[in-house]
């Protein structure tokens, strides 16, 4: 962490030049105390806002969620909480819709994250060439990042329409029958993944590009002297150097895909979003939580869903850790 931290002395009160008429001794003592206090307290004062805000609006609610999950709380009367024990957990764990949304979240996560990161890697490789107007290309590719979830989802809702949608029209040109994107189990997940991929690929590509530019050239020179082809260099030099970055983007994209909300909510427009389609075919965990809490008005089960999400997140983190360990071990 600390790379070049100077000793504490660098922060001590600088020695004061004796003046012609030095202030009284008491005053000097007071001043140096004040200095010392300023030095000791300032760092804590500067980081306090973060911890105060996070404590009040992040950590405290996170813990309080567990308490609410054991109560009956209705949207209509937020003040009255009635103890019900494990009932809420019982309710959601025995709800097939909950398990549907767990598997939907997982599947959409996989089919959006994997292609997204692969394409981003390829794009970064292209952008790493010497290009005319390189800034222009980078900006163009990042543009979807400027779009909100809401606008992106709504435009794609038009593109994916069953009749009169841009995509089906294009498919029709090539001779395919129209697809009912939002109604199919796989097609709806694919549609949502495409929205996610569209918005985030450019962003990830830029992160990879930055990491690629930090790879020392000597490595490539050495590799080419050893007779490595371009593809071998990419595989044996670029990818290993990017490993921490790749791992990081995987973690972040996984967490992001756990939270998918706007895309499924707005995929079809109208009121269907709150249940994730007529057969819950694209209902994610966030939608399930929203539906219970804000659509049906039962906040207790919604809080239980939040805890289920936390459990799932920890599970994913553990899996990540194990895979990471396995990869490191097998690499040795």
């Amino acid at each position: 962490m600390a790379t070049s931290t100077p000793t504490r002395d660098a922060y001590a009160t600088p020695p004061r030049e004796p003046k012609k008429e030095p202030p009284s001794e008491r005053r000097q003592l007071w001043r140096s105390r004040l200095w010392r206090f300023d030095d000791k307290a300032s760092p804590y004062a500067y980081i306090a806002p973060f911890f105060l805000v996070f404590g009040a609006f992040g950590l405290y609610p996170l813990l309080y969620t567990g308490w609410i999950a054991l109560h009956r709380v209705e949207m209509t009367g937020l003040d009255s909480m009635e103890w019900v024990g494990w009932e809420n957990f019982d309710k959601i764990l025995h709800d097939p819709e909950f398990w549907t949304s767990v598997s939907n979240t997982f599947l959409i996560g996989v089919i959006s994250t994997v292609p997204q990161l692969l394409v981003a890697l390829g794009l970064a490789h292209l952008l790493n060439y010497k290009l005319r107007a390189s800034t222009f290309w980078r900006t163009i590719i990042l543009t979807p990042y400027a779009t909100s979830v809401a606008s992106a989802a709504l435009v794609f809702a038009l593109v994916f329409r069953a009749d009169g949608g841009l995509l089906n029209w294009t498919l029709g040109l090539v001779g395919f029958d129209p697809v009912n994107w939002a109604n199919g189990h796989w097609t709806s997940k694919l549609a949502i993944s495409i929205i996610v991929i569209w918005r985030w690929t450019g962003y990830n590509a830029l992160i990879y590009l930055a990491a690629m530019q930090a790879v020392p050239n000597d490595l490539y020179e050495a590799a080419s002297l050893d007779g490595a082809s371009r593809w071998q260099q990419f595989r044996k030099v670029t990818i290993p150097s990017l490993r921490p970055t790749i791992l990081f983007t995987i973690v972040i994209s996984t967490i992001g895909s756990m939270q998918l909300f706007g895309e499924p909510l707005l995929l079809e427009g109208g009121a269907l979003g709150a249940t994730g389609g007529n057969e819950n075919q694209y209902e994610t965990l966030s939608i399930y939580l929203y539906n219970y809490g804000w659509n049906l008005g039962h906040l207790g089960p919604a809080a239980a869903v939040a805890w289920a999400m936390l459990a799932l997140l920890l599970l994913i983190a553990a899996a990540n850790w194990f895979i990471g360990r396995f990869v490191r071990k097998s690499a040795v």
């Binding site: 010497k130 400027a146 709504l154 009169g164 109208g270 009121a271």
Partner: protein, 306 residues
């Protein structure tokens, strides 16, 4: 509250000021095969295809927003914008309370951005250049909070906000996002390299107290990074959807919330919805065209470096 974590970046090294993107390499003749070779036609074609895919949905928004719903949904979709843009925007304006929504979005995004800049610079400076007990694990704690999805705390947050009397008010959206872990990390990485200890010491010897140092030494040095963080924060606050959608209501929406409600109405007219989408995206597109290079540099400078 940071939804779907757009401005996430990793706990590793940040380059100093992003001066015009990539660090310049020595002449390419000296380099081995591979890196920094000139891109051939294939690279340009591939980038053009991806670029086309990136821009097409935005263009389609414009086309759909400027035509009638029947035209948009016709079996052969229109390829060029029509003449209904003004009319559609007017209708969207009335139906979705857009005037109020724009005002709200501006208030929310700018207050979040200002607060984030101030607090994150302070905290970033403390973590970068000041020594204090617990610095290491406190910084780890800051980074760890990046991995907590907002979904986990929205239920009690909603109840708290209603208890505070902020139910449906902008405060409920602004306050949880006043500081961001990403911002603290970003400013710390920048200041570690950009702010020499000599400057701080010189100011101390001149008799400046700590806050004085922040104002007259740290803030000027941090300005380039603050610009970038400001833009990233603004984009994120402007586009935030999940928590505002739960916390606000039809009478007092932000643009994104208004947009969501417009589409959730019983028979949404697609052209009107697209007119709303266009209005909500346009300001950011303008920001992108003007500051594109800076934003790209900012995202790349926040990225992981081996």
């Amino acid at each position: 509250m940071t939804m779907t974590s757009p401005t996430h970046t990793a706990p590793v090294k940040l380059a100093p000021a992003p001066k015009g993107g990539a660090p310049q390499r020595p002449s390419r003749f000296r380099m081995g095969a591979g890196q920094q070779l000139k891109g051939g036609p294939f690279a340009y074609i591939a980038l053009a295809v991806v670029g086309f895919g990136s821009l097409l949905p935005l263009y389609w928004t414009l086309v759909a927003a400027s035509r009638t719903q029947d035209e948009v949904l016709a079996s052969t979709p229109p390829f060029f914008p029509g003449g209904k843009l003004v009319e559609n925007v007017q209708t969207a304006w009335e139906q979705a309370n857009l005037g109020k929504a724009i005002l709200n979005s501006v208030i929310v995004s700018s207050s979040i951005t200002l607060a984030t800049l101030f607090f994150c610079t302070l905290a970033g400076y403390a973590f970068a250049k000041m020594r204090f007990r617990g610095r290491g694990w406190l910084m780890t704690a800051v980074i760890a909070t990046l991995t907590i999805p907002p979904q986990l705390s929205v239920v009690p947050l909603f109840m708290m906000m209603s208890g505070l009397g902020w139910g449906g008010q902008l405060e409920s959206v602004i306050f949880p996002t006043l500081v961001s872990a990403f911002g603290v990390f970003f400013m710390r990485q920048y200041l570690i390299e950009a702010l020499p200890y000599e400057l701080i010491e010189a100011a101390k010897i001149d008799g400046a107290n700590n806050f004085r140092i922040v104002v007259s030494v740290v803030l000027p040095v941090a300005r380039p990074a603050m610009m970038v963080l400001g833009m990233l924060t603004f984009v994120q606050a402007w586009n935030d959807f999940f928590w505002p959608y739960l916390a606000l209501n039809q009478q007092n929406p932000t643009l994104q919330v208004a947009l969501g409600q417009l589409s959730a109405s019983y028979t949404p007219d697609q052209s009107i919805v697209m007119a709303g989408a266009l209005i909500s995206t346009l300001p950011l597109l303008v920001v992108f065209v003007v500051f594109g290079k800076k934003i790209v540099g900012g995202i790349m400078s926040g990225a992981v470096k081996g």
